[in-house]
């Protein structure tokens, strides 16, 4: 079954996502910080990474996404980014996801996450593999 790594510093959200994803038998591991997440990604080589945009700093998620896309091992692993960023920065993500230089992620989701929405995004990101 596909391995999913969640990088998010909010333990409650991680737990809720874990329950949703495990209900479809995905193998879920998680990490509470960007740097730890990068290490885990290198070690575990997941099939999908769910990444929160705001962790230690407002842009930590962006940095992690860029580092992941640079890494030899994880270059092709799809990233689903979680944002609550529209409310705090006014940035609209609709047109930005997929722009390799600006925001190198494959899809994004706004918090709060509806279980069905999360599962269908995960499925479609993994579907291509």
């Amino acid at each position: 079954m596909a391995k999913i790594l969640i990088i998010d510093d909010d333990p409650d959200i991680v737990e809720a996502m874990r329950i949703v994803l495990e209900s479809k038998n995905y193998l879920v591991s998680s990490s509470k910080s960007g740097d730890d997440g990068l290490r885990k990604a290198e070690a575990e080589k997941p099939d999908l990474i769910i990444l929160d945009v705001m962790m230690e700093t407002i842009s930590k998620g962006f940095e992690v996404a860029r580092d992941l896309k640079k890494s030899q091992k994880n270059r092709d692993v799809p990233i689903l980014m979680l944002t609550a960023i529209k409310e705090s920065t006014g940035l609209d993500f609709k047109n930005e996801a997929g722009d390799e230089d600006w925001l190198p992620v494959d899809d994004y989701m706004e918090k709060p996450l509806k279980p069905q929405e999360l599962l269908s995004k995960v499925e479609s990101l993994l579907g291509g593999r």
Binding site: D10, A16, I19, A84, E87, D92, P112, L113
Partner: protein
């Protein structure tokens, strides 16, 4: 503080002076005509008309010049405006002296019209400049009187108005001079005392206003932080409730399911409220909106799509008509779409089943008019003035829909005003409402 120059509104005051000068030109012509024709006093009318003409010419030049600098608005605009005001008043004093000289000199009672110039100077200029203008007027007066007295300049006797020529009467000259010069200085003293005080007050008010804006900004920042924190927790709560509700943690009994559903719904409502609060606060704090050209037609159609399903659920007729001339305008597309969608959603929400919602967009040259009308519950007269206030909800709206943030229309207003547009509502309770937006292209 003494020489506090009036900068705010100086340009407007100079325009006022220009308007006054047109009246003065007409006044001179009218007065000369009536004195000659009605009072039968011989005057150098051609010379006087010529002076009136010159007055008109330089007034026109100042008017055109002012329009130009106002359009270009150079950084040193206040300095230029100040200089222009000084030059104008000096030229006016010269013209008035010439007019007086050619119509009787010291015998002419209109000599006291110099007072008006002193008052105008006190309103427009700093206190020091006003006293300088008074001194210039005094010098012109003394020069005219002495030149006429020593016959270096011809005296134009006002035959029929004064019994005999007064220009060489020492006592008369002395009396008029003392009265005239003291009047000039006293007028400046009094008028500047008032206007300097007014300017000080104006400055204090401006400072107070700035302080209020700063306080408001601090408050907004605070609201932004607090709501953001609240939203994070809400996200987590909702994220935890939803898997439970969907049975991902095991089947719930009906009672559990009902309570979890209620909790989830309430969290959702609180979330919408916090989102709206975040949005209006963020717009208020942003100095500038990112704007660019976009198709208003497409944007409006998107907004219609957004509410279509909801209108259908209520068996409503949702129609729209966009003037073919309306297309690309400049603005913040996302916000405009949201605003139109918001108004449409409001109309759908507050219109009973089977009602109508209609949107019209008309081309108005350099702006567009967006009208969204419905056959809904309307807004009472008492509520109309407050409907755009933050957190305010009309009584009948509250009765119909218990939940609502009271922020939708204040966000719309903020967005439209940021675009230098206007938004207002016309409504009759029980019959329906029309929301109007004027947006510059």
């Amino acid at each position: 503080m003494e020489n506090l120059a009036p900068q705010e509104g100086l340009i407007e005051r100079i325009y006022w002076l220009i308007r006054l000068r047109w009246i003065a030109v007409a006044g001179v012509i009218f007065t000369v005509l009536s004195i000659e024709k009605i009072a039968n006093i011989p005057l150098r009318s051609l010379t006087l008309y010529t002076i009136a003409f010159i007055l008109g010419v330089y007034n026109l030049i100042f008017f055109l010049y002012l329009n130009r600098i106002k359009r270009n608005s150079p950084p040193d605009l206040p300095t230029i405006a100040n200089r222009v005001a000084n030059i104008q008043i000096s030229l006016d004093l010269l013209s008035l002296t010439a007019l007086i000289h050619f119509s009787g000199g010291i015998e002419n009672p209109f000599i006291f019209y110099f007072i008006f110039h002193m008052i105008i100077a006190s309103i427009l200029l700093s206190r020091r400049a006003s006293y300088l203008q008074a001194t210039f007027a005094t010098a012109l007066f003394i020069l005219m009187v002495s030149l006429e007295y020593f016959n270096f300049l011809e005296h134009h006797y006002l035959n029929g108005f004064v019994a005999y020529s007064l220009h060489a009467n020492k006592i008369y000259i002395l009396g008029i001079s003392v009265a005239f010069i003291s009047t000039l200085y006293l007028a400046v003293y009094m008028a500047t005392s008032i206007s300097v005080k007014l300017r000080q007050k104006e400055k204090i008010l401006q400072e107070a206003n700035l302080l209020l804006e700063e306080k408001d900004r601090i408050k907004s920042n605070y609201v932004l932080r607090v709501s953001h924190d609240i939203k994070e927790h809400l996200s987590a709560i909702q994220g935890c409730l939803d898997p439970v509700l969907q049975g991902l943690t095991g089947e719930l009994n009906p009672g559990q399911k009902d309570l979890v559903r209620r909790s989830s719904e309430r969290t959702g409502k609180l979330m919408s409220f916090v989102r709206a609060l975040l949005e209006i606060t963020r717009i208020k704090l942003s100095k500038e909106m990112e704007t660019g050209p976009f198709s208003l037609r497409k944007t409006a159609e998107n907004a219609v799509n957004f509410v279509e399903a909801r209108a259908k659920d209520k068996d409503m007729r949702l129609s729209y008509n966009i003037d073919p001339a309306v297309d690309v305008i400049t603005g913040a597309q996302i916000y405009i779409e949201e605003t139109i969608a918001n108004l449409l959603a409001n109309s759908v929400k507050y219109t009973p089943k089977g009602g109508r919602v209609d949107m019209k967009i008309k081309d108005k040259g350099d702006s567009v008019l967006i009208q969204i009308s419905d056959t809904g519950i309307g807004i009472s007269k008492d509520d109309i003035p407050r409907i755009f206030d933050e957190f305010y909800r009309a009584k009948n709206a509250k009765a119909l829909e218990r939940d609502g943030t009271g922020l939708g229309l204040s966000i719309a207003k903020e967005v439209i005003e940021r675009h230098k547009g206007k938004i207002w509502v016309e409504s009759e309770e029980g019959k329906g409402s029309t929301f109007n937006i004027v947006l510059p292209k």
